[in-house]
């Protein structure tokens, strides 16, 4: 690769936002036909670098060269016409347009200015078929799951004849099968000579795909390394700039005995709880101080279980006992009244208020629980917020920053803090570590252990099996919208066994089968 010319060279790029130096003299280059991972903690500046490159932000200083010629794009469309095609971090499509339109809008096939809808639909179908997605492209995008939306965004990007393809955390809402599908396409495109910039917090994905790694830390370049020459530990150290002790210590701690935890009356018992078209009736108990992991593929009904237990969806079958008393969870307000908190996976649409500050966002749920007539004293607010900003290492550690300006991972942490602060008795965490960097992920896991040791019941939903295994006392396995089995998480249980349980059964279909 060394003899070749880079297709893209960014030199000494700096970019400041009011109060934050997001990029400080960063150099970055990409060669044709490589997958290049851009790594760094939440808030390191990865997304900002991408937005500077594609003209969403203008850089304060530095130059960008594409195939030897200096460029400065006015926006994503101009970048795309020069062969730089991007999938930004959050799914950025329009839910009110059809799938086909979302793929082609701005580049629709036309004759004399008139859009050829038929051809557009056909091409959209073909393109999605390449990603092994078979859906009705005339339906509104909003009717599909986040994972499908993510794949549509990727389809949009790969349809552009790109020289440089940028994927900012494309895999965070995909399941294993879909990730493999995406990787297959990425390899194919790479072999066609396209340079692919890939951002992710999944280290195994980096080592599975990337030829080269560039590490950023606090807006500065740490270095560029061939993947083969940078062992995983060294990578993490370079990202967080210190030794890894935070990541250790979790596995060694012996888990408290499940039998002891389950001796008391369960905090919550779901009795044949179910909802047509959402989840088949299931029975589940969660005790104080217990972490129940919910494993299963994307679309297997994990989130739906959480929504039922939070009253976000109304059950049409069975019932719920709280502390042994029948307590129908009609809506989230009743659930919150029973001290149940739900940290949703969908932070953008269901969670944060972008205009409000970090402090206001964190306080929101607690204030709502107290009622708006009893404002939380400012001193107390500051204390609490301060505590969680440092516990979750939210960066920048500025409570008065509008949440909209935080990096994706840090927004996720704010959402988490909002629910932690209410000190619920049952905390439902739906993919709490998605899009969160290794260091913070470990912090969150530690926190979950701490909270459950302190007597909180936790329902922990994650696509990452290791995480579920590490934290849970017992694991409920979901498949095809059914709770198939519950495994006590003892020495006999490991990732392989859970995988087998997920996969077993004569008739198994993944969401994209």
């Amino acid at each position: 690769m060394s003899g070749r010319q880079p297709v893209l060279t960014m030199t000494a790029i700096s970019k400041s936002f009011p109060g934050v130096r997001a990029l400080d003299g960063v150099d970055f280059r990409m060669f044709p036909g490589e997958v290049h991972a851009l790594m760094g903690e939440n808030g390191a500046g990865k997304s900002t670098l991408i937005k500077v490159l594609t003209g969403v932000y203008s850089n304060d200083s530095g130059t960008i060269e594409l195939a030897g010629a200096e460029v400065s794009f006015s926006g994503p469309m101009q970048a795309a016409t020069h062969g730089v095609s991007t999938v930004y971090q959050e799914v950025n499509l329009c839910a009110n347009l059809s799938v086909a339109e979302n793929i082609f809008i701005g580049r629709e096939p036309r004759t004399f200015g008139a859009i050829r809808w038929g051809e557009m639909r056909r091409r959209a179908r073909d393109l999605l078929a390449r990603l092994d997605i078979h859906i009705d492209v005339t339906q509104l995008l909003g009717t599909y799951s986040l994972a499908v939306q993510q794949m549509v965004a990727i389809a949009r990007a790969i349809d552009i004849r790109a020289r440089v393809l940028i994927l900012d955390e494309p895999t965070s809402s995909l399941d294993a099968g879909e990730v493999e599908q995406l990787f297959r396409i990425m390899r194919q495109l790479r072999d066609e000579g396209i340079a692919i910039l890939f951002v992710t917090h999944f280290l195994d994905q980096v080592y599975g795909m990337a030829d080269r790694i560039t590490v950023l830390r606090n807006g500065r370049l740490v270095g560029e390394y061939p993947t083969a020459e940078l062992p995983q530990l060294a990578l993490v150290e370079k990202m967080i700039g210190k030794d890894l002790d935070v990541l250790e210590g979790l596995d060694e701690q012996p888990k408290r005995e499940l039998a002891a935890i389950e001796a008391s009356t369960p905090f919550l018992r779901a009795e044949q709880l179910g909802r047509k078209g959402s989840v088949a009736p299931f029975t589940m108990t969660i005790h104080a101080g217990e972490v129940v992991g919910l494993a299963g593929l994307l679309g297997s009904g994990r989130t739906e279980v959480a929504r039922l237990l939070f009253g976000a969806d109304r059950a049409d079958h069975g019932g719920v006992l709280i502390n042994g008393k029948p307590s129908p969870l009609r809506n989230p307000v009743t659930a919150i009244g029973h001290d149940i908190a739900f940290c949703s996976e969908n932070r953008r649409t269901e969670g944060l208020v972008g205009e409000l500050t970090v402090r206001e966002n964190i306080i929101l749920a607690m204030q709502a629980a107290r009622g708006w007539l009893r404002p939380i004293p400012r001193r107390r607010q500051d204390e609490l917020v301060e505590k969680y900003i440092s516990a979750l290492s939210i960066r920048p550690a500025n409570p008065e920053m509008p949440v909209r300006n935080l990096s994706g991972g840090n927004q996720q942490k704010v959402l988490l803090a909002r629910w932690l602060i209410t000190e619920p008795r049952l905390l439902i965490l739906d993919e709490p570590t998605r899009g969160i960097d290794v260091g913070a992920k470990a912090e969150i896991q530690k926190l979950v252990v701490q909270l459950s040791d302190g007597g909180m019941a936790v329902l922990f939903i994650s696509a990452e099996l290791e995480e579920v295994l590490r934290l849970s006392h017992k694991i409920a396995v979901m498949r095809d919208r059914q709770l198939v089995t519950e495994l006590a998480n003892d020495d006999t249980v490991d990732a392989v066994r859970v995988m087998q349980t997920i996969a077993s059964g004569t008739h198994h279909e993944g969401p994209n089968a």
Binding site: A95, E108, I115, R125, H134, I135, D136, Q139, Y144, S145
Partner: protein, 331 residues
């Protein structure tokens, strides 16, 4: 056919109507019911000319409502249209009075509205000011211009105008429509085409759906935003000319509050106020609903004409509730 799995199809049987079409269909059904009531109550109501008159009386409003549809689809609002209609009529009347030839008057009249719309759109986009405020300012400005031109009504005697006003296009049975109705239909057809088949149209929907995403998808947000206010201005200008055909005069205080009727028509026609969803066809139905209510109340004779407003208010409320319910169900 493509294969689908349970988690991916929306699970809609073929006979279920897509939810995005429910508001328009509701409006259509309402229109039919109102017509049926009219026919059953008043014998003369079944006369085709009654329907034609609804179009004749509301042609200018239809054109303005079409422009408003574009703006509302982006999630914006244009409060200036009523004043721009009046201003255009005033300009026509005063220029004709001064002896300017009719074709030139038409050209000038057709330029003023879009220019104002363009400026408002630019201010809204580049200074990031609420459309409500900017177009409110535009409304006061245009209304002020009207009285600046003349404090009292100016009659129009130009032969081109009087011809246009009196021209009847009809069938052998004597039913007829005016030129204005044909122009209004032309505007509707062009607008529907633009929204469905051009990039400008699709970008309008995209911006209404999610402006941030539209930007990151590389769509020309600035151009589109400015374009919709320009289109609304153009439609208001055409509406003003049609109104001057209809009244053969320009009056400084005509069409006061018309913007609100127009917004009501668009919303009753199923266009969602927050943008991103709606059709020109719905707007046509919305205008017809308002027109038919008016006709029904005129036929009744005993009812105060303010009942029109009360009924419109009730309907508006009902339709916004309907949209809301559909929005909730979707979640």
């Amino acid at each position: 056919m493509t294969t689908t799995t349970p988690s991916q199809i929306s699970g809609r049987p073929w006979w279920r109507i897509p939810q995005r079409h429910v508001p328009v269909l509701a409006t259509g059904a309402l229109l039919l019911v109102m017509y049926a009531v009219g026919v059953s109550q008043y014998r003369a109501f079944s006369n085709v000319q009654v329907i034609f008159n609804v179009f004749i009386d509301n042609g200018f409003m239809l054109v303005v409502a079409v422009g408003m549809t574009f703006v509302i689809l982006t999630g914006g609002i244009d409060l200036s249209v009523g004043s721009v209609v009046a201003m255009t009529a005033m300009v026509c009347a005063s220029l004709l009075q001064a002896g300017v030839p009719a074709p030139l008057v038409l050209v000038i009249a057709l330029l003023i509205g879009p220019t104002l719309g363009f400026l408002m759109g630019a201010v809204i986009h580049f200074f990031e000011i609420q459309p409500f405020i900017v177009t409110l300012a535009g409304m006061f400005f245009a209304r002020g211009m009207c009285t600046l031109i003349s404090k009292s009504s100016i009659p129009i005697t130009d032969p081109f105008w009087t011809d246009a006003a009196q021209q009847r296009i009809g069938d052998p049975k004597g039913n007829f429509v005016s030129i204005s109705v044909l122009i209004a239909f032309a505007v509707v057809v062009v607008a529907a085409y633009v929204l469905a088949y051009t990039r400008l149209g699709r970008n309008t929907y995209a911006i209404g759906g999610n402006p941030q995403s539209a930007l990151l998808m590389g769509l020309p947000v600035a151009k589109t935003r400015i374009a919709v206010y320009t289109i609304s201005g153009l439609c208001a200008a055409i509406g003003g000319i049609l109104l001057s055909f209809y009244t053969l005069s320009g009056a400084p205080l005509i069409a006061v509050g018309m913007e609100l009727d127009v917004i009501a028509a668009v919303v009753i026609g199923g266009t969602v106020l927050t943008g991103g969803s709606g059709y020109v066809f719905g707007t046509v139905l919305g205008v017809l609903v308002l027109g038919v209510i008016q006709t029904l109340i005129t036929f009744d004779g005993s009812l105060n004409s303010w009942w029109t407003k009360i009924v419109i208010g009730g309907l508006l409320f009902a339709f916004i509730l309907l949209q809301r319910l559909i929005g909730i169900r979707k979640k």
